[in-house]
């Protein structure tokens, strides 16, 4: 549970990760959605804030060739962040750099040519595929848009190659099928093929397995890892499942109400987490193979506050168990905690960030 337990090997790996180049640099990013004006009745409640603060001052890097898992509950802004990085959603302020290039300074056509390098895998394979498009058409469309230089033969060759690569074989037969002929797992394979066919080097995978049965999940994840092997492909893996993130990601970023609360190596974030919110998330993961203890850890009370009226100071203090244990210190209500380094390649945003010790004696 403590830092000394890290092996030499882990330290070497950590250093290597830190030395990697940066594919994406996000700096102080804000995404705000305007919502319709409030009706008379609600006008007096919680100020006259009329926008949803989906992403709230996020600064982070995504390193070349890594898998960064973005974890959080629904409404924490993880999908918005992914879409903002891909420039599908306009950011309100802040910068996003792709290999050092500021995306907001690019013209429409420059952005379009960059798009083929930055792709998205959607969550629900039952809804993200056009039911009237054959498998072949679904894969041909991205090539038609981005690779006008390719001849029909070249396209065909590439489509078959990718169908085989994602495990939809025999490619000739599968190419003629329509989405309703395919099972959930096969549909997701097709989505992945459509994403990869442009040979991107940065892919945002938005909950790619959450709609699938557990027995199929592993194969889809393995496919994603196989496609990454030997390349510099970088994944941003959005998920609500912390144990899955731990399994496949190099680093994990934990979000709460549009803010980055903790980021670090996957093992650090799960086994040596510093932020009380991450600690709560870890404590509710069911223990499958061990005797379940009566003490469930930190099940947070109530629900996430509305992103339309984010609490003052530390946005987590309204539900924070540590805030309660500390006797409601004023600093949590007044001051927003900055992301500070808490060891190695590990940062957390909490005034009292520290490892949780067994026996209730905390943060000495």
């Amino acid at each position: 549970m403590n830092l000394e337990k890290k092996t030499m090997e882990e330290k070497v790996q950590e250093q290597r990760n830190a030395d990697r180049g940066k594919t994406i640099e996000v700096n102080d990013l804000y995404v705000t959605y305007n919502v319709r004006k409030k009706r008379k009745k609600a006008k007096n409640q919680a100020g006259d804030d009329e926008c949803v603060h989906a992403v709230n001052g996020v600064t982070m890097d995504i390193r070349t060739g890594e898998i960064l898992a973005v974890v959080g509950e629904s409404g924490c802004g993880k999908t918005t962040l992914g879409k903002a990085i891909l420039n599908i959603i306009r950011s309100s302020s802040g910068t996003i750099k792709y290999h050092g290039q500021d995306l907001s300074k690019l013209s429409g056509s420059q952005l379009q040519s960059l798009r083929q390098k930055m792709q998205l895998i959607f969550q629900d394979p039952y809804e993200s595929l056009d039911p009237r498009q054959s498998v072949y058409k679904a894969l041909e469309e991205p090539l038609d848009i981005h690779r006008k230089d390719m001849s029909p033969e070249q396209k065909k060759e590439r489509i078959y190659k990718y169908l085989e690569a994602v495990g939809l074989h025999p490619a000739e037969t599968m190419a003629q099928r329509y989405p309703h002929h395919l099972s959930g797992g096969q549909r997701q394979r097709l989505s992945i093929a459509a994403t990869m066919i442009l040979e991107p080097d940065f892919v945002v995978a938005d909950e790619p397995v959450s709609m699938l049965d557990v027995s199929i999940r592993a194969e889809i994840l393995k496919l994603m890892l196989d496609l990454q092997k030997g390349t510099d492909l970088t994944y941003m893996f959005i998920t609500h499942d912390l144990s899955l993130a731990w399994l496949i990601a190099d680093r994990i970023a934990v979000f709460y109400l549009g803010k980055l609360v903790e980021i670090g190596q996957a093992d650090d974030v799960v086994h040596r987490c510093m932020h009380p919110y991450s600690q709560a998330l870890v404590s509710v993961i069911p223990k499958i193979r061990e005797e379940a203890d009566e003490d469930k850890g930190h099940v947070l009370r109530g629900e996430t506050p509305s992103p339309m009226s984010i609490p003052s100071g530390c946005c987590f203090h309204t539900r924070c168990w540590l805030y309660q244990e500390k006797g409601c210190p004023e600093v949590c209500r007044q001051k927003e905690p900055a992301l500070v380094t808490v060891g190695g390649d590990h940062q957390a945003a909490c005034h009292f960030a520290g490892p949780e010790e067994k026996g209730g004696d905390l943060h000495g």
């Binding site: 049965d213 027995s215 609500h240 912390l242 709560a280 993961i285 499958i288 005797e291 469930k296 099940v299």
Partner: protein
């Protein structure tokens, strides 16, 4: 004595493509005060089996054979009129998808009172309202939300309402169909905690369906694993999780990452479940099984007692060899 005993139950569906053998020869039993978890992949028949108990199967379903004994009475033989007396008062259901299971045009309080007024005619409106309000408080919702409409509640709160609603007529058995699916992890933990509390407080018996094994291991006394319409393993939850006997259970457990264990990549189960319109002659899991023997292709294994209340349906078990 077992409170609920499902004996050799089959449920079939008529469809244009042929008869779907959704549930085939299922045996399950539940003692009073027990919490049984039913797990399996989509289409394995877990919902069909459990919805057959209160007689809530769709129109095109029929039961060709089998018994559902509830306190000694066979529910399969009962008429619709007789079943109405069983529902809510003796067996109630928490339906899947709390988001859509409530009537959007009625206040939450009104729809919660409805079963009481229907099933207990001697209870006055006032008493019913009192009871509903008390139950709302039990599930952590303020009394004054009685007059709110479902859209004024969040997903987790609606699930709480559904849970409270299942308890209004003080049933003996509650069937919870995927009560935490589609909820956030933290809300999921809250709901599981609540269910645990209520089971204790009202000494309920419960059948909980989930495709997520890890949810069941938190809560249940016993576990039944289903595959292709059959129960393949049944036993005490802890025992099934730590010493699984059926190859399917073993594989299912390996497809879950365990942060308390070693970081090994999860294994899926290659292949797909068999068609239930033309079920295979032998063991339904045979095609995806890595432990199969020639016998598996021709014989459907029965659920056999392995001692200590642990049952499995695997051809290799009867040979006296351990499967894993």
């Amino acid at each position: 004595m077992n409170m609920l005993e499902i004996k050799d139950l089959s449920v079939h569906f008529k469809s244009r493509a042929g008869t779907v053998h959704a549930v085939e020869g299922v045996n399950l039993w539940l003692e009073k005060g027990e919490l049984l978890g039913v797990a399996g992949e989509s289409g394995c028949g877990k919902t069909t089996t459990t919805l057959a108990i209160p007689g809530l199967l769709p129109q095109n379903a029929f039961i060709p054979k089998g018994q559902i004994l509830f306190n000694g009475e066979d529910l399969v033989k009962k008429t619709e009129k007789e079943m109405e007396k069983v529902r809510w008062k003796q067996i109630s259901v928490i339906f899947q998808g709390a988001m859509n299971a409530l009537n959007p045009l009625q206040t939450v309080g009104k729809q919660m009172m409805e079963p009481i007024l229907l099933h207990e005619p001697h209870v006055s409106k006032k008493e019913a309202e009192e009871r509903v309000k008390e139950l709302l408080e039990q599930v952590g919702i303020e009394k004054n939300r009685f007059t709110n409409y479902p859209h004024e509640f969040s997903g987790g709160m609606r699930q709480r309402v559904m849970i409270a609603m299942s308890l209004v007529c003080d049933p003996e058995l509650v069937i919870a169909d995927e009560p935490v699916t589609a909820l956030d992890v933290m809300i999921q933990a809250q709901i599981l905690e609540l269910l645990k509390k209520l089971v204790k407080k009202y000494s309920l018996s419960m059948i909980m369906i989930s495709h997520d094994l890890s949810v069941l291991c938190e809560l249940c006394d016993k576990i039944a694993i289903m595959y292709a319409g059959r129960v393949v393993e049944y036993g005490y939850a802890r025992e099934v999780f730590t010493h699984p006997k059926h190859p399917y259970t073993v594989k299912l457990l390996h497809s879950l990452p365990d942060i308390y264990g070693e970081k090994v990549f999860i294994n899926g189960i290659p292949g797909y479940p068999p068609s239930l319109i033309t079920p295979p002659a032998g063991c339904p899991f045979c095609e995806r099984c890595t432990e199969k023997i020639p016998e598996c292709g021709s014989r459907v294994p029965e659920l056999v007692d392995l001692g200590g209340g642990h049952y499995a349906a695997c051809c290799r078990q009867t040979e006296g060899r351990a499967v894993v």
